[in-house]
Symmetry: C2
């Protein structure tokens, strides 16, 4: 079963399109986890990484039966060097053990020969003394396609070979996304925005990776903060699954993510990070010791909110 079919199936089984963003910020991790991970006040990066790991496990345990997927953002782990990278690997593996699909949010990009390295590192196999071994083995990866097709091709190849997926940045959720993405292009006689050209690429590059669900393993990142653009993009990429950041803490609401879905009620997964994993900070009902319950309840509320 290809990645798109696996993701659509998981969305149907769980009955919602929620992706939990695992973006652990050390400053916001509950004190009981910090004091245990940093026993003896070693104040090392390894201790910080341990705290991220324990925190993530609590979140994953609390939401695994509810949602189809998680999206750990690697910057929050790379901060702590190799120890953080190790916890990134462990977080991905733990989430998969619990039945979740894992979207590695790393926005990797490079020329072909190097992109091949990233593709192996995150989704495929890596060379090992004449043989091969699995890399980090996430289910999908976010990719920045500023370099064009030959920088995307190695990822597309591993999608095919290993039933993995990628989500290409099309229209991102941040305020400055328009600096480049909203600029107007002259393509032949047509005028289109840069994000529309990128959408055209996604549609074209993903055409031969469409599964039985009708969706392709090459998806698109489309921010919840730009509903008008999402409406246009939905039509331009009928087979792409949208990975939608920007709901919740970044300001996107249920009404804003609606245009990201197709008429079949599918075709998008909606990410929330801070709004779920640090939900305990926003409601006095929960103390830090109940951060996982708070996250679970936040998912339940988000599920209700998205029932349109």
């Amino acid at each position: 079963m290809n990645f798109a079919d696996k993701l659509i199936q998981a969305v149907k089984i769980k009955g919602n399109p929620i992706c939990v963003g695992l973006d652990p910020r050390l400053e916001q991790i509950p004190a009981q986890i910090i004091s245990k991970a940093n026993e003896g006040e070693k104040n090392t990066k390894e201790a910080a990484a341990e705290a991220l790991k324990a925190f993530n496990k609590g979140i994953i345990d609390a939401v695994a039966d509810l949602v189809p997927c998680v999206k750990p953002q690697i910057a929050f782990y790379e901060q702590y060097g190799w120890a953080g990278f190790k916890v990134y690997e462990e977080t991905c593996a733990y989430a998969q053990e619990k039945g979740l699909l894992v979207i590695a949010d790393a926005k990797r990009n490079d020329i072909g020969s190097t992109a091949k390295g990233y593709a192996g590192a995150f989704l495929g196999k890596v060379p090992l003394f004449g043989g091969e071994v699995a890399g980090l083995d996430a289910d999908a990866l976010t990719v920045n396609a500023y370099l064009g097709w030959d920088g995307v091709k190695p990822f597309a190849q591993v999608c095919r070979d290993e039933d993995k997926g990628i989500f290409i940045l099309v229209k991102t959720s941040n305020i400055s996304s328009g600096d480049l993405q909203d600029q107007e292009l002259l393509v032949g006689k047509d005028k289109m925005q840069v994000y529309e050209l990128m959408a055209h690429f996604v549609d074209s590059w993903g055409a031969d990776l469409i599964g039985e669900s009708g969706y392709s393993s090459i998806g698109a990142v489309v921010g919840a903060t730009y509903p008008q653009q999402a409406k246009v993009l939905r039509k331009m990429m009928p087979h792409a699954i949208f990975l939608v950041p920007g709901y919740g803490a970044q300001g996107g609401e249920a009404e804003d993510v609606k245009p990201c879905f197709n008429e079949d009620g599918l075709g998008a997964i909606v990410n929330s990070s801070r709004g779920i994993i640090f939900a305990y900070e926003n409601d006095e009902k929960y103390g830090p010791e109940n951060y996982a319950d708070a996250a679970r309840d936040a998912v339940v509320r988000m599920k209700e909110d998205l029932r349109f």
Copy 2:
């Protein structure tokens, strides 16, 4: 002294603008290093990472007195998971100990709050139990600016605070770089290519980070494979240092990199990876045991080649 001044000074002292790309491919590492790193044929990722480290040390020792900087490409390390990431950190630190400036080639990019995480991870400080500690602490980082200014701003901030640098992808060296980068934009009444708009951004974003050398700590990646475009870009970004990939193995020649330099003979560093670090494969004069000598001689030849 800001990053640009440090780099220009190093180029003047070493008398050449060469950047050695540390892109170690396990399959091409000499047998004596492989057999030592993989003693007992454990065939683990840790053993692979050990081989990369030993190989890199040999290269760094051989070229440290000759060149101003090195550029380790992180994909080749991330392949081996946390062990690879650890060797990436160790490689950067070792090169700095030997007096080299280190450009982390990781092409990171994200929305502001996440970009801040990457900026700390690679160039600045990261939060640690109420305090702060240095991250990987490279001298500069490559950045992909598809997300616009708010995704670049945290990197610019750390450039200012910590005397670090970034190189933003403008016109990359790969064959498909034109898919997006060569498209024609209508900006107001002006027509310009996407890479020209990016050049405008680089010039503008870097304007308040210009050092005494006249160069800015915000530089640009401009491929040696596109000399015509480089000529235009050189005029558009007079204060930017160009990081020029694509010389050597990718096909760029000395004549092609000329347009990347200003009339002062400065303003660009030229990267070569495979052509230097695996030079031993291209000349029977060297055996695998003399890979470091071969790399040193390749640098000397490149230095001659670039003396225009």
